[in-house]
Amino acid sequence: MELINIKSVNVRYKNGVNAIYDLSLKIKKGDFVFVIGGSGCGKSTFIKMLYREIKPNSGEIILGGLNVAKLRNSKVYKLRRKLGIVFQDYRLLPKLTVYENVAFALEVIGAKKSEIQVKTLKAIELVGLKSKTRMYPDQLSGGEQQRVAIARAIVNNPKLLLCDEPTGNLDPEKSMEIMKILDNINKTIGTTIIMATHDKEIVNKMKKRVIVLKDGHLVKDYEKGKYDDEIA
């Protein structure tokens, strides 16, 4: 069963730059998909479009029954509650502890205190930071901070986890740790994961579905892909 159905989507920025051309794509529930391509190929735009940070100029994006392309600003939160989002720069709140950062995602949607506690601890445990729940982000390494961000993204049991270059700031060893965690989430919970990256090594090692974008066009879609130097 497909979770995402994208039909002839075009994205053009106000400055006239075309970021995505006529993109059509289906992603199944439980898939792990890499979106690769060089700088400016439209990876980030693709991810942003999925969490409705930008609106496509034309086309349709159906995500878990919601038409994302036509979603009004005031209703965007309905979509976001079904998603988890992880960024290259972690985006944690520096004045909150690990626990508070993760719990924050549940607090702001009005979850019960007991529910917050159970889910938060579970998510932190899943990313292997149980011993560091009371630490602040600046006391953690980059890899650990990214793990907090992942815990925050999955704490609400989203159907889809969007990752925009989550390993971009990390060394290869830490990057692999993050990938293991993501793979684990994908396999144990069944969360669909879409990850934009330009990390060749990761893509080649993971052997997942790979979507290649070039200048806003979908140029390749491998079932068990490799990072193709010529294309990307």
Partner: protein, 299 residues
């Protein structure tokens, strides 16, 4: 339950923010305090002025003098005619004799002069004291009265009444203008305070949006912050009204200038004013923050 939790969170965040941006909050609170003091003053003045106006209006009496040669029958006729005029509320007849006695009581000089007057040589006139229903139509009524036979003159102190009411009206207009100006200034200051809070929490807001907080949840703390600033700002003006008005009332003995102008008694007057001041503070705070949220929080 969920709504309560969100409200609790909003209040908690808002209070934190007021403390975190203390100096800026203080600026807004001081400004709102000054505004509310003027609002309170304006209310005290204008409500008292209304009170004076009502008292003066209810005190206005039209005096109708009959011609010197009017007989008792003439008096009866005039009285009948007066009763037919709609705007007249009450009619009191005062004969020459009664007037003479009154004047003699008031002044020794009059007493000596008038003591040996007999009724025919009296230069006083029989008169009617008339109260009207609607003061604004008093001029019309006076004209109608003048047309009645045997009436010499009608007097109702129109100039004095008009001037007094005009002065009161001016006082009211000035206070209203001041209040409006100050409220606008305060709203702008609150917009700025909230704007800075919004900027200082931009990161938090963007994360809130990412994890699916609804717009209302994001906006609520800022609106509450404005309301808290408004409520805190109303404390000093309220104390000033409660203690200040009572002190002034006691000091003046409840009257200004003459017994004619009485101040409104402090209870429950000061509490009503305090409530109005508090509500005004909260509403002004809310208006300012709502405007800032609309302008600077694009969600």
């Amino acid at each position: 339950m969920k709504l309560l939790r969100m409200l609790g969170r909003g209040i908690r965040d808002a209070s934190k923010s007021v403390i975190r941006n203390f100096s800026l909050s203080m600026a807004s609170i001081s400004c709102i305090s000054i505004t509310l003091m003027v609002v309170a003053l304006a209310l005290v003045v204008s409500l008292n002025v209304d009170n004076f106006t009502n008292m003066i209006e209810s005190d206005v009496t039209m005096v109708i003098f009959l011609e010197g040669n009017a007989t008792t029958e003439d008096v009866d006729k005039v009285s009948d005619e007066l009763e037919k005029i709609k705007n007249i509320e009450s009619i009191t007849f005062k004969s020459k004799k009664e007037q003479q006695e009154e004047m003699m009581k008031e002044d020794e000089v009059f007493e000596t002069i008038m003591s040996d007057w007999d009724e025919d040589e009296s230069s006083l006139r029989d008169s009617f004291l008339v109260k009207v229903v609607d003061l604004e139509k008093i001029e019309d009524t006076a004209k109608k009265v003048k047309k009645i036979d045997k009436i010499d003159n009608v007097n109702y102190g129109e100039e004095m009444v008009d001037r007094l009411l005009g002065a009161f009206d001016l006082v009211k207009k000035i206070t209203i203008a001041m209040v409006v100006t100050l409220i606008i200034v305060t709203i702008f200051l609150i917009i700025n305070t909230i704007k800075l809070t919004i900027f200082s929490r931009k990161r938090e807001i963007s994360i809130m949006r990412l994890v699916g907080a609804s717009n209302a949840t994001i906006k609520l703390p800022f609106v509450i912050e404005g309301m808290i600033i408004g409520a805190i700002g109303s404390v000093v003006p309220i104390l000033l009204v409660i203690y200040g008005y009572v002190a002034m009332y006691n000091h003046l003995g409840g009257i200004i200038f003459s017994n004619l102008i009485k101040l409104i008694t402090p209870e429950p007057f000061v509490y009503i004013i305090s409530l109005v001041v508090l509500i005004t503070g909260i509403i002004v705070g809310m208006l300012g923050s709502a405007r800032a949220v609309r302008k600077y929080l694009k969600v």
